[in-house]
Amino acid sequence: MSAITPEIVAEHGLSEDEYKMVLEIMGREPNINELGIFSVMWSEHCSYKSSKKWLKTLPTKAPWVICGPGENAGIIDIGDDDAIIFKMESHNHPSYIEPYQGAATGVGGIMRDVFTMGARPIANLNALRFGVPEHPKTRHLVHGVVEGIGGYGNCMGVPTVGGEVEFDASYDGNILVNAMCVGLADAKNIFYCAAAGIGNPVVYVGSKTGRDGIHGATMASTEFTADTEEKRPTVQVGDPFTEKLLLEACLELMQTDAIVAIQDMGAAGLTSSSFEMASSGGVGIDMNLDNVPQREENMTPYEMMLSESQERMLMVLKPGKEEMAKAIFEKWELDFSIIGTITNTGRMRLFHGGEVVADLPINPLAQASPEYDRPYVPTPKRAPLAPGDVKAPADCMATIKALVSSPNGCSKRWVWEQYDHMVMGDTTGLGRPGGDAAMVRIHGSQKAIAMSSDVTPRYVFADPVEGGRQAVAETYRNISATGALPMAITDNMNFGNPQRPEIMGQFVGAVQGIGEACIALDYPVVSGNVSLYNETNGQGILPTPTIGGVGVIQDVSKAVGMGFVAQGEAIVLIGATAGHLGCSQYLAEIEGRKDGPAPHVDLVAERKNGDFVRGQILAGAITACHDLSSGGLGVGLAEMAMKSGLGADVEDQSGELPLHAWLFGEDQARYLATTKDAGALLAAAKAAGVVASQIGIVDGKDLTIAGAGTISVSKLSDAHEKWMPDYMAHPDFEVG
């Protein structure tokens, strides 16, 4: 009788066709260890089997790109031998099941991806999406996720400088926790995962292996059902203290010439790290599992290979460097064990108790993993929505207040004050959380990087192509609004079940839009992550391709913030306004409607306006700048006022448009800027072919808009700051 029954195959998430491929590759029936290895390597999470056909179409090259997708993280060159290494990755499913540990280990995992390559992490960002505030689990999830992110990042001593927090009913059963880490490395000293050197030792460092997280990767690749809660024991527990030691030990070893290759043990742990190293290097590995440091007794080979215990790394060392490397890890009180040898067999052979417990060919398994061209249906175009077809509010100023105090528009100070955003001493005053882009100086230099994470899921849902473009363009604007030049992005694609053609259509459309924007803006994708099956009982999330952008400013003293700076300065609106209210925040929050098309993203205008704004900031002609996005001009003005405490006098330049369409329309490629010399700025805009007009001046302590009314900035701020702490102060949730 066969030991591997169809039930066992199904439990491992392999389809019948996939199992046939397993039999073909093996030439015999696999044993349970081998089956387990196939199952995690071919999970959606590790193999990208539904998405890779489309991801391959994304632009990934530019002269400043050192390393694009495929490694642990992407790398760009920012000059002076400084390399920036960054990536965003989701930890959605684990965070829903156990929010504190799920989010914490997500942060820990993404930091390992970055320091594995030789970078010291210098900034973290997090894009979080939760269900509606009224949902009974939301408050508990927000509490746990925020505390988990802080608990890990704060202990690591890496500032958490930016991100997003939004609420929508589509995330009620599938929250999104997308963690981004940005690191700084010496461009001459970068580490990759390709193993080499027959006979070289394979070394395990970090924490011991326990039974935690077994089948985490396969869990992240299936839909949630009612019994998912029972999978709780598979959630890993993070130990940021150990990770901090691992970081310091790895960076210390990287200063020597001992390392041939290094790879962190993330999803699918020892299996995926060893296979990736061997397959990238075109070599084989013999591993003796008896030498794996173990936290629990009687662990089986299956458990060791599939464990997702955190804070572990696998390295290939040069011969003769073992003792020196061991001394460094012992100094940092970490386990160090030689568990294997590089071979020329092209096979992974695992030994346990003197017996061969698995013997697999590496390349067919790692590289010839399934690739699907899943059927897809493009999202149908929506009918236009004329500004006149949207009811005007009774009071536009009250509407501004309502938008800036809504769950999605309010201040997220409650969240980011729980993150140490200043440790490492390089977060600039203007670049602290709550602005357009976070800004962190390159230590000991005048350079800084600007970072932003963005996506507007309601746009992507309405029109995946425009929504994909918009997510990229918004990070581009947020970075440009500080004066920094956007360099590259990481994409974290969160979607529903790809086996549904309409979901696959969203994915295909979003990839197309992202790719178009990247090309137009000279802003390639250097790393990314895909999270599919974000569905509960057939209800998918809004398609959420989160984009993390990174830019560089050569002289950080020239950067500007988004708050008004001085009374009497002119306020200039840059970019064309057409009053687009389809899919707007106004429509959703005030009118309770979600119809209309997403705004069109004119990529030529995005590029032109971005270049103009950045150039004027660096020339010292702009004193403050803010990108316009959700909530449009009205909310943008309010945000600049609240940030500074200063008011403004604004003219009504709505012209042919209804006032509310002018104020709340979400036309893209727009910025607000303040300047001491409006004449010069407007002349420069005209010369550059950029639409711009002065709409008012910074004045007093009230925001006054002709034809709409007046509101005190301090009242706006109070409302803006109030919602989140009030919501979270509600006693009806568990203590974390």
Binding site: P731, D732, E734, V735
Partner: protein, 80 residues
Amino acid sequence: MKAKVHVTLKNGVLDPQGKAIEHTLGSLGFKGVKQARQGKFIELDLAETDADKARAQVDEMCKKLLANTVIENYTIDIEG
């Protein structure tokens, strides 16, 4: 032998975590919880086989590290 150490805050020392537990238990409908105090439980596996010596060792450990006697009390149970 095994030693079980309970570390608790001294009476009169504010225990914000205990307060939060108390409050939340109340809001979950558990009435009649007069007070909740949170502490730590530490289990030690000792080579020592003499119970009195083991207790003396653990007492020393508590004073030196496991408890902060400015604000915390501790109790020790030694098991076979």
